[in-house]
C-alpha cells in the first residue's frame, strides 16, 4: 500500500506546497541531491513524493499515474480533457492564486464586455480580411469560454508560449487570454480585462486521480486530503 503524491519541483509553488504539507504533519525529507525527483515523508513509508512541473502533475493525475498532486486549477482544466471524469479537486489550498482573463488593448474604448467582443469578432473578417486573433497558452479554456459559454465562433487562437501580454503590440494577436495575479503586467502593456472576462479564478489545489485503488489506498488518500484541507483552512 503506497500512495504517490506529486508536488511542484520548483519556485514558490514548491515552497508553499512543502509548507502546507509540514503544517499537515507531513514533513518532506528533501533529497540531499537537488537533481533527484523522488522523496519521502518522514516516518511514512506509505507515501512517495514525486517532484514534477505543475503542468506535468495535472497530466499525470489525469492519466492516473500519480494518485494525488498539488497543481493549479488552471492547469488541471487546461491540460486534462474531460477533467471532471478523471480527477477531483480534493481541497483548494489558498495559495498560488491567479485569474485566467480576457484582456483587450486599452485603446479599444468601445469594448467592455464579451458581448462587445462578439460584435467586433463578427465583423473582423469583413473589415480586415482575417479573423480576430487571440494569443494564449490556454487553448481549451479559451475555446470553452468563447465558443461554448459566449457563443463566439469566429476567432483564431495563436499559440503563445511566453510573454503573451506582448502579443498585441508585437502584432501577432489582437487580444489575449492569460493568467494574472495583480493585473500590473497587463496594465504595463496597455491592456484591460473585460468586465465579464474572468474565465477562471484559479489557485493551487490538491487534486485526486479518480482511478480505482485498493480500499486501503483509497482510505490513505482520503486521510491525506483531510489533513491537507485542515492545514490549508487553519
Amino acid at each position: 500500500m503506497t500512495i504517490t503524491l506529486a508536488i511542484p519541483s520548483k519556485g514558490r509553488l514548491k515552497d508553499q506546497s512543502l509548507e502546507v504539507l509540514a503544517k499537515a504533519g507531513l514533513t518532506v525529507s528533501l533529497p540531499g541531491d537537488d537533481r533527484r525527483y523522488r522523496a519521502r515523508i518522514e516516518g511514512r513509508d506509505d507515501i512517495e513524493i514525486a517532484f514534477l512541473s505543475a503542468s506535468e502533475i495535472a497530466g499525470e493525475i489525469g492519466q492516473g499515474s500519480v494518485d494525488l498532486g498539488i497543481t493549479g486549477e488552471d492547469l488541471l482544466r487546461e491540460n486534462v480533457a474531460d477533467w471532471e471524469s478523471k480527477t477531483a479537486i480534493a481541497t483548494r489550498l489558498g495559495f498560488g492564486s491567479a485569474d485566467v482573463v480576457v484582456a483587450v488593448p486599452d485603446a479599444w474604448l468601445d469594448v467592455e464586455t464579451m458581448a462587445d467582443l462578439d460584435d467586433v469578432a463578427a465583423e473582423f473578417r469583413q473589415r480586415h480580411g482575417r479573423r480576430l486573433r487571440i494569443a494564449t497558452k490556454y487553448w481549451r479554456l479559451t475555446q470553452q469560454f468563447f465558443s461554448q459559454l459566449h457563443g463566439i465562433q469566429v476567432y483564431r487562437i495563436v499559440e503563445s508560449l511566453g510573454a503573451t501580454e506582448g502579443a498585441p503590440a508585437a502584432g501577432s494577436a489582437d487580444v489575449i487570454v492569460d493568467i494574472t495575479t495583480t493585473g500590473s503586467t497587463l496594465r504595463a502593456n496597455h491592456l484591460k480585462i473585460l468586465a465579464d472576462g474572468v474565465i477562471l479564478r484559479s489557485q493551487a489545489c490538491l487534486v485526486r486521480s479518480l482511478k480505482t485503488r485498493t480500499s486501503a489506498d483509497e482510505a490513505l488518500a482520503g486521510k491525506i486530503s483531510a489533513s491537507l484541507a485542515r492545514a490549508a483552512g487553519g
Binding site: P105, D106, A107, W108, L109, D110, E112, T113, A115, D116, D118, D119, V120, A122, E123, R125, R127, H128, R130, R131, W139, T142, Q143, F146, S147, Q148, G151, Q153, V154, Y155, R156, I157, P168, A169, G171, D174, N189, H190, A195
Partner: protein, 378 residues
C-alpha cells in the same frame, strides 16, 4: 467508378449514387484526404479544432483529415479558375472526432457554383438530395425542412432595428439559445461603464475625428499599429454607435413581431401566404426577400417534389456567417438526426479568396445513416 477505390468498406449504394449525380449533371471530383487546416478553422471557427484530426507537415504547415467536402471543392474551383456555372459532386469519407461511435463517415453531395438563377439552383439542390434519398430509401416517408436566413434579415431590417442589433440577431439565427440571449440583452441592455475625459465629451459631441485622434495617440503610446488590426476610426465609430443605443430598448412591438415570425412553421405551399399575412399584420414590407422566397417555392414545385412533404420553419437556420439564404434538412420520420443537410453560401467563395463573388448552394448526405436505415444489406 473510375478513380474511387472500391474497398469492402465502401457503401454498397455508392455506384448508384455516382450514377445519379452524373445523370443529374454533376460530375464527380476527387478531393485529397489530407487538407490544409486553416480554411476550415477560418470558416467554421476554433471550436472545430477539437472535432477534427490535425497533423503537421515537415515544414510546420497545419494539415487535417478532411472534415467535410464543401470547402475543398470550393477551393479547387477557385484555384482551377473554372468557368461558372458549374456543378461538382463527391463521395468519400470525412473524419471527425467524436466521443462515441466512429470517427470516419461516408458523405456524398453536390456543390452548385455560380448559377445566377438563385431560385432554380436552390430548388435543384433540394431536388438532388431528395432524389438521392428516394432512390436509396424507397418507400420511406422523407421529411424536408426548409429555412431562410435572408427572410429573417429582411424582417430585422423592416422592423427598423439599428444595424448593430441586426447583426447581432442575424448571427444568432438558427440557435434558439443564442437568439433568446441576444433578445434578452436588447430588451434590457447592459449599462455601459462611464467613459473618462476627454473621451466622454468627444462622444457626447459625436466628434468622430477628435475621438479617432485621441484613440490613435493611445494606440501609439501602447505600441499598437493603427493599421494591422482595429483602426482608430473603427473604434471611434463603434463607440459613438454604442452611445447612441444606450437609451434605446427593443420595443415590445418589435419583440412580439419577432416572436410571431419565428413561430411560423407551415407546409411550403402555404409559406408565402403565411409570410405575407405576418408582414401585413406587423405592418412590415419584406420586399425582395419575399419575392425571392416565392420564386423558390415555384421552382421547388416545378421540380415535381411532393410539396406537402416540405415544411418551412421560420426559425430554422445555421449560425455560420457564410450561409446567406436557403438552409434545408431531410430526415425520415421523427428521427432527430438528419440524413441530408444543405444550404446557400453566397459569401463562402469570396471568404475563401475568389476575386469576384460566386454564388453557391449545396448539400451533403450522411451515407452511414442511410445504410443503417436500409438494414442488413450494407
Amino acid at each position: 467508378m473510375g478513380a474511387h477505390p472500391m474497398t469492402s468498406r465502401y457503401p454498397s449504394i455508392a455506384p448508384d449514387i455516382l450514377a445519379l449525380f452524373a445523370a443529374r449533371g454533376a460530375p464527380a471530383v476527387d478531393v485529397p484526404v489530407l487538407q490544409p487546416a486553416d480554411p476550415f478553422l477560418d470558416m467554421a471557427g476554433e471550436d472545430l479544432r477539437r472535432r477534427i484530426f490535425l497533423t503537421e507537415s515537415e515544414t510546420g504547415a497545419a494539415l487535417c483529415l478532411r472534415p467535410e467536402f464543401t470547402i475543398p471543392v470550393c477551393l479547387d474551383h477557385i484555384a482551377s479558375q473554372s468557368g461558372t456555372p458549374r456543378r461538382y459532386s463527391y463521395l468519400g469519407e470525412v473524419f471527425r472526432q467524436r466521443r462515441e461511435g466512429g470517427n470516419e463517415f461516408f458523405q456524398a453531395g453536390v456543390e452548385d457554383l455560380g448559377d445566377r438563377d438563385i431560385a432554380r439552383a436552390d430548388a435543384r439542390s433540394i431536388a438532388d438530395a431528395h432524389a438521392l434519398l428516394a432512390m436509396t430509401l424507397p418507400g420511406q416517408a422523407l421529411k424536408i425542412t426548409l429555412g431562410d436566413q435572408s427572410i429573417f434579415e429582411a424582417v430585422l431590417a423592416a422592423l427598423g432595428l439599428p444595424r448593430g442589433w441586426r447583426m447581432r440577431l442575424a448571427r444568432a439565427f438558427g440557435s434558439a439559445e443564442q437568439l433568446a440571449a441576444a433578445l434578452a440583452d436588447l430588451a434590457n441592455p447592459q449599462k455601459n461603464g462611464a467613459l473618462p475625459e476627454p473621451v466622454a465629451s468627444l462622444v457626447a459631441d459625436g466628434d468622430l475625428d477628435g475621438l479617432a485622434g485621441h484613440i490613435a495617440s493611445t494606440m501609439s503610446e501602447a505600441g499598437l499599429s493603427a493599421s494591422a488590426g482595429r483602426t482608430p476610426q473603427e473604434i471611434a465609430r463603434r463607440l459613438v454607435e454604442k452611445a447612441e443605443l444606450r437609451s434605446v430598448r427593443l420595443s415590445a412591438e418589435a419583440f412580439a413581431a419577432l416572436e410571431k415570425f419565428l413561430a411560423i412553421d407551415v407546409p411550403l405551399n402555404l409559406a408565402a401566404a403565411a409570410l405575407e399575412d405576418f408582414a401585413q399584420s406587423a405592418g412590415l414590407s419584406l420586399g425582395a426577400a419575399l419575392a425571392g422566397f416565392s420564386a423558390r417555392v415555384d421552382a421547388v414545385s416545378a421540380e415535381g417534389m411532393p410539396s406537402d412533404a416540405i415544411r418551412y420553419d421560420a426559425a430554422f437556420g445555421r449560425p455560420l456567417d457564410y450561409y446567406t439564404g436557403l438552409v434545408f434538412e431531410i430526415s425520415v420520420g421523427d428521427a432527430s438526426r438528419p440524413l441530408a443537410g444543405g444550404g446557400r453560401y453566397d459569401r463562402l467563395l469570396t471568404l475563401l479568396g475568389a476575386k469576384t463573388p460566386i454564388p453557391g448552394v449545396g448539400f451533403s448526405v450522411w451515407l452511414d445513416r442511410i445504410e443503417q436505415l436500409r438494414g442488413g444489406d450494407a
